[in-house]
């Protein structure tokens, strides 16, 4: 698992780069969902509020919501996922990234889970 990430209980990861947050879903989430065949992301410029359902991730059998881990403005949505949704399965922390968000309120990051807390959440058994 990559370092310096924060996580949500809905299995999104967040990596901070300056005033931007890069967002995706974890390998745990991708495994739970199975083969991902469709991803719908909010468009550039859209304002997101923390915890809102802002997009959709579909596997062969099911439809899942993507939740905004923090509030902010969408700077870029990963266009590659339109043609290659399988990147979320093969490289969830890298090429499978979903959103670049301009952080509206950095204090919201503190409410997210750290590595240890996320590992605790996803401990099998």
């Amino acid at each position: 698992m990559a370092q310096d990430l924060r996580y949500t209980k809905e299995h999104e990861w967040v990596r901070v780069e300056g005033d931007l947050a890069i967002v995706g879903i974890t390998d745990y989430a991708a495994r739970q969902l199975g083969d991902i065949v469709f991803v719908e992301l909010p468009e550039t410029g859209r304002s997101l509020a923390q915890s809102d359902a802002v997009g959709v991730i579909e596997s062969v059998k099911a439809v899942s919501d993507l939740f905004a881990p923090i509030s902010g403005e969408v700077v870029e949505a990963n266009a590659e996922l339109t043609t290659s949704p399988e990147l979320v399965n093969s490289d969830p922390f890298g090429k499978g990234w979903m959103l670049r968000i301009r952080i509206a309120d950095a204090s919201q990051l503190g409410a997210l889970l750290d590595q240890a807390a996320y590992e605790e959440l996803t401990r099998e058994g």
Binding site: G34, D35, V37, F38, E58, V60, K61, T82, E86
Partner: protein
């Protein structure tokens, strides 16, 4: 995993999974293969192993192995076997030659479908009826009721019978060395009685994937041996285990209906485009005859169609369909077709909207996405 060993209400003494679900004789093998298990019709079944897309593609290009032991196998024996089934079902089992099979349906008196099934003729006076797992008990009860007065015996061997299927273009070459049956001579929709991996077995050239393949019926005690032999024999050919997830995407591509989605008590065979299964010309009465004669004469109230989604989005079960502003129906089954790389679906629509080429709109969340009526099947094998 704790197991219950008390017999259940049906006298079934076999071990059950912790949640009280029935297990097939291959449960331990699925766990060993890393299967993700789900509840299906009261059974614990593998939904996927390596992944649905990979398993689907394996069946289309090589072959896959399925555990279908949850399905129902009902044997009907006696002098009146053909007549009794002719009364109970909408098809004409009396017209079957020994060693041949037919797709059929058992309908309610009102004409709605109770189950779709395959009837195999094992002898002059012996048939095997294979029912969906979700309806096995209901079919067993209905058959028992309908055969009364006929000189036959119903032997429900569902819980004593395991079913392993191999499906895909390489099926024949994998099966051939394992069986004493002349596989090359077993025609489509034929069944033979012999051995597989040394175990007594019925081998049918039938399936639910749109590929060539074989369904192998054995006693539960033989299931593990047959599964292991097919996995081993298929190893060099790249045969993989396949779960219910890929089974669903495969049959949908092949345009085959799923009971509970395309078929149900509120659909007639005619509405599902399966009127050819109903043999109104056969001799004698059968359950549902009057209603089905009327349904055939009146014409369908709705029609099952194939749809190719022409915009961005996947049409799924329950999503609504529109012709302009008029709601015309709803999706019965839908997915992203692994073979075509595009979303496909089946749906019931108003008969006036059912012509191939018609452009409708499917409501995906809050968007209307164009979907075009296309002829079924979506996929037809070339091998």
């Amino acid at each position: 995993m704790s197991r219950l060993t008390e017999p259940d209400a049906n006298g079934d003494r076999r071990p059950r999974a912790r949640e009280g679900l029935l297990e097939t004789p291959l449960a331990d093998r699925h766990l060993g293969l890393g299967a993700r298990m789900v509840e299906f019709a009261g059974w614990s079944m593998p939904v996927q192993y390596a992944g649905i897309l990979e398993e689907h593609r394996a069946v289309r290009t090589r072959a896959g192995l399925f555990d279908l032991s949850h399905m129902g196998e009902l044997f009907v024996d006696g002098t009146d076997a053909a007549k009794a089934l002719g009364y109970a079902l909408v098809s004409d089992p009396a017209a079957l030659q020994v060693g041949r099979a037919q797709y059929s349906m058992i309908c309610f008196p009102g004409g709605g479908v109770l189950d779709d099934l395959i009837v195999y003729r094992l002898g002059e006076d012996r048939f095997m009826v294979v029912a969906n797992a979700s309806n096995a008990a209901a079919v067993s009860d209905a058959l028992a009721e309908r055969i009364e007065g006929f000189r036959v015996v119903l032997d429900d061997r569902s819980l004593a019978t395991a079913l392993v299927a191999i499906q895909g273009p390489l099926s024949r070459q994998v099966m051939a060395p394992l069986t004493d049956l002349a596989i090359a001579d077993l025609r489509n929709y034929a069944i033979g009685d012999g051995h597989v991996a040394g175990q007594p077995a019925l081998v049918a050239r039938t399936g639910y994937t749109g590929e060539d393949g074989f369904e192998v019926f054995v006693d539960v005690a033989s299931a593990g041996h047959v599964w292991d032999a097919l996995m081993e024999a298929g190893r060099s050919a790249g045969v993989v285990p396949v779960g219910l997830g890929a089974r669903d995407t495969l049959r949908l591509e092949a345009g085959m209906p799923l009971y509970g989605n395309e078929l149900g008590a509120d659909t007639t065979p005619y509405e599902a485009g399966l009127g050819r299964v109903v043999k109104l010309g056969k001799e004698g009465d059968f359950v549902g005859r009057a209603a089905l004669e009327k349904a055939e004469a009146d014409g369908p109230r709705k029609k099952l169609v194939g749809l190719a989604v022409r915009g961005r989005g996947i049409a799924r079960h329950g999503y609504e369909l529109f012709a302009g502003d008029r709601r015309t129906g709803a999706i019965t089954s839908g997915t992203l077709s692994p073979t075509l790389g595009e979303p496909i679906a089946m749906a019931y629509v108003a008969p006036s909207d059912a012509e191939p080429g018609t452009i409708l709109e499917v409501k995906i969340r809050d968007q209307r996405v164009p979907a075009q009526v296309v002829a079924l099947p979506f996929y037809r094998r070339t091998t």
